[in-house]
């Protein structure tokens, strides 16, 4: 009796498996696709090699000896100077030399531990809020923390009390200033934004009208005109005795500007709340304040979270504009440090460095906001 043996299965054609299949499907599926792939490769070829060469391969990394957490790492015997750094590629020792300015501006070096503490305090605040989330009196604790944190931060950075040396705001600068403006801007504008959003949704004609006019006006004009208004016109609205700090003026301008944008975002959330929720709150006999604080706002704010984060990202980008009214943020430090006679003509390195820092921060924030959007988006997608 013949025995039948099953042939071993034929291997799939080489063009249908593995890398080759992937390439055929994704890059060379038709002649148009092939042309596009070649075009993309060519564009990468034009941009990437010179960029990498400028930034890394030919760049100067002669930092001298660097002390990282007690370990001494020797990059070169001596640090490069502007003259022997070369002009054809990046001179990173310039950034290394000026990193303090990019971070703190003209903040006195011996006091720089104070902003550092505030930076860690911010982390501590988030950790603390997370830790107490199961605690019975958590609302009280969080409230106390939220009141104490800004006061402590202000005292630490600004000084002038508790034996701390006064550091005036014109000495604040660099990334620190950017973070201060962004966080104060968000913290101050958020409650105003909520009020404006409620005002615009209000049935009271006068309040509705005022809120609408304010929001639409602010949203129609560029931030820079508002910053100019805040720095030139705002002081004129007060009596001579009130002295307005340049930073404070910028903060007022930014807070009002951002409040209008927050208001629109939150209004979107308010409009998404079903009418039944309002009616149910009314039926329970809750007054206006309780209705909004307990029923409407918690839901509306929750829906708006992704957009609130998105709006905060725009605010972070917009903080760079304070450069135009003469505040010394990180971007201003590029011109400041490359005017140093020892490091003349290093704007490009400065801009690239600031771009990288800003990009990393903003990219992290926008990825986070995308993640939030996905988490809150329970709609079915096709």
């Amino acid at each position: 009796m013949a025995t039948y043996e099953q042939n071993s299965p034929k291997k799939p054609p080489i063009t249908q498996i593995g890398v080759v299949r992937w390439l055929r499907h994704n890059l060379f599926s038709s002649w148009i696709n092939t042309a596009l792939t070649l075009l993309a490769v060519y564009m990468l070829y034009i941009v990437l090699p010179p960029l990498l060469d400028w930034m890394i391969i030919s760049a100067n990394f002669n930092f001298g000896t660097v002390d990282i957490l007690g370990y001494k790492i020797e990059f070169s015997e001596v640090m490069a100077t502007n003259d022997n750094c070369g002009r054809a590629a990046a001179c990173w020792p310039y950034i290394y030399e000026k990193i303090y300015m990019f971070t703190y501006g003209f903040y006195p070096r011996e006091e720089s531990w104070r902003p550092d503490i505030v930076f860690w305090l911010t982390f501590g605040l988030f950790v603390a809020i997370k830790l107490v989330s199961n605690y019975k009196h958590k609302n009280l604790v969080i409230l106390v923390l939220l009141v104490l944190y800004p006061i402590a931060s202000f005292v630490l950075i600004s000084g002038g009390s508790f034996g701390l040396v006064l550091v005036e705001t014109h000495q604040w600068g660099g990334l620190m200033l950017t973070l201060v403006i962004a966080s104060v801007g968000i913290a101050v504008s958020f409650p105003i934004g909520v009020l404006l959003a409620l005002g615009r949704q209000s049935e009271l004609k006068a309040i509705n009208f005022i809120s609408t006019i304010f929001i639409e006006f602010i949203r129609a004009v560029p931030l820079i005109t508002i910053l100019f208004m805040a720095s030139f016109v705002l002081p004129l609205f007060f009596t001579e005795s009130m002295d307005f700090d340049k930073l404070l003026r910028a903060l007022i301008g930014i807070a009002l500007f951002q409040a209008a944008y927050f208001a629109e975002v939150i209004r979107g959330g308010l409009q998404a709340i079903p009418k039944g929720q309002y009616e149910a709150a009314d039926a329970l006999g809750l007054n206006y304040f309780k209705k909004n604080a307990l029923i409407i706002l918690p839901q509306a704010l929750k829906i708006s979270i992704p957009n609130i984060v998105g709006s905060s990202i725009s605010l972070f980008k917009d903080t760079t504009l304070v450069l135009i009214i003469g505040l010394m943020d990180m971007l201003a430090m590029v011109n400041m440090t490359s005017n140093d006679p020892y490091w003349l003509g290093r704007e490009t390195e400065g801009f690239v460095f600031v771009t990288m820092v800003m990009w990393v921060i903003l990219y992290t924030m926008s990825s986070y906001s995308k993640k939030l959007e996905k988490r809150f988006n329970t709609e079915h997608t096709n």
């Binding site: 596009l36 075009l39 990468l44 009271l204 004009v221 030139f232 016109v233 004129l236």
Partner: protein
């Protein structure tokens, strides 16, 4: 006692309480603005700042190197306002034009089946969207000053286009007598094409016979003006830029400031437009494409008649919003000194005259009007595009 109680009970009346709150709010705002404006006048007097708009007629006294209309330092401040306004409009139009093209390309590329192209487009969006626009403007401006050569060593293209540190030099078209006829021919051609399309569409609807008008339209739009152009004896000549002494003369020049600003604005805004286009195309339900295929539409017809009309409904409103944002962002030219409205009028004139309230008020008003116009356009578009019968 009873009366007092009844007065307080009035507070429980919703309507009355509403009026009370509004009255209090209005009163507070009126009071605050009264105090503020009172202080304003006291301060203005104390600092001996002039008031009113008479400064507009005064001599400006500074030069502006880029202007569409005639301008000298002898011109009035009002003239500076017009120069700035026109420059704002020019940079906005150029920016919107390029942002739309780049945005369309990137948005479509993002959805491409080609892995590399799609990732490249995604990389472009993530890169340029997450860098503040002011930083981009300053970066390109400084870079252009560094990498472009001196006028004598300009980059040359066909002896007609020159790029150097002073700007981009391109030939300037100069119209002569009779060029008007070419323009008229173009307009007639466009009207003809529209009429033709209508005619064939009617025929299509009546008889079901489809006629492609693409060839005829192209011939008409290019052919008719070209014919008139040659009949009139080529009434257009190009003024080429040429190196005279240390600098170029003639031609059209785009300054490094303008180029950097327009470039940065287009590149930045394009990322948002690309995202709008992408989400528009993605918003079209898969079933729509399948239905189109099922009733026998070709790929092109399906795209033209089914997918695009629905995609555009989603994509156009955010795109128009981005046009507004681009126009507002053009005010950042203040940082590099391109003389648009905010830089020339809100900056330089403000520094010289010092009447911040009037000058900033006028500047803000312009942006307010621009944004009102754009939102009117947006409303019209929304109305036209809204799903009928819903």
């Amino acid at each position: 006692m009873k009366q007092i109680k009844s007065i307080f009970s009035l507070l429980n009346n919703n309507e009355l309480r509403g009026y009370l709150f509004q009255a209090i709010a209005l009163l507070a705002i009126v009071l605050l603005s009264y105090i503020a404006i009172d202080n304003l006048f006291i301060n203005i007097e104390a600092r001996s700042i002039h008031t009113g708009f008479s400064f507009l007629d005064n001599r400006a006294g500074f030069d502006i190197n880029e202007s569409i209309i005639y301008y000298t330092p002898e011109s009035s401040n009002l003239r500076v306002f017009y120069v700035g306004l026109l420059n704002t409009i020019v940079v906005a139009i150029v920016g919107i034009f390029f942002a739309t093209i780049i945005g369309l390309l990137i948005g479509i590329a993002r959805l491409s089946n080609n892995y590399l192209i799609s990732k490249l487009a995604g990389g472009y969006i993530e890169l340029f969207r997450n860098i503040p626009i002011l930083l981009q403007i300053l970066f390109w401006y400084n870079l252009s000053l560094i990498i472009f050569p001196h006028p004598r060593k300009s980059f040359e293209f066909f002896d007609a286009i020159f790029i150097n540190r002073r700007g981009f030099y391109v030939p300037k078209p100069i119209a002569e007598d009779g060029f008007l006829f070419v323009v008229v021919a173009l307009i007639i051609a466009i009207i003809g094409v529209i009429a033709m399309k209508k005619h064939f569409k009617k025929k299509h609807e009546k008889t079901g016979i489809y006629t492609s008008t693409f060839l005829y339209s192209t011939l008409l739009i290019i052919g008719l003006p070209a014919l008139v152009y040659f009949i009139m004896g080529a009434p257009l000549h190009l003024d080429y830029p040429a190196l005279k002494g240390f600098n170029f003369k003639g031609g059209m020049v785009f300054s490094p400031e303008f180029t950097a600003l327009a470039f940065a604005l287009s590149v930045y805004t394009a990322t948002y437009i690309a995202e709008a286009i992408r989400s528009g195309i993605e918003a079209v339900d898969k079933g729509q494409k399948e239905a189109a295929a099922a009733i026998g539409l070709t790929q092109v017809q399906s795209l033209k008649l089914v997918v695009l009309p629905q995609a555009l409904r989603v994509a156009i409103p955010p795109t128009i919003n981005q046009y507004l944002n681009l126009t507002k962002n053009s005010s950042l030219a203040t940082a590099i000194g391109y003389p648009e409205l905010m830089s020339a009028f809100g900056g330089t004139v403000l520094n010289q005259v010092g009447q911040a309230v009037e000058i900033l008020g006028m500047t803000m008003l312009v942006y307010l009007v621009i944004s009102l116009i754009i939102s009117l356009v947006l409303n019209l578009v929304n109305k036209k595009m809204s799903i009928k019968g819903k």
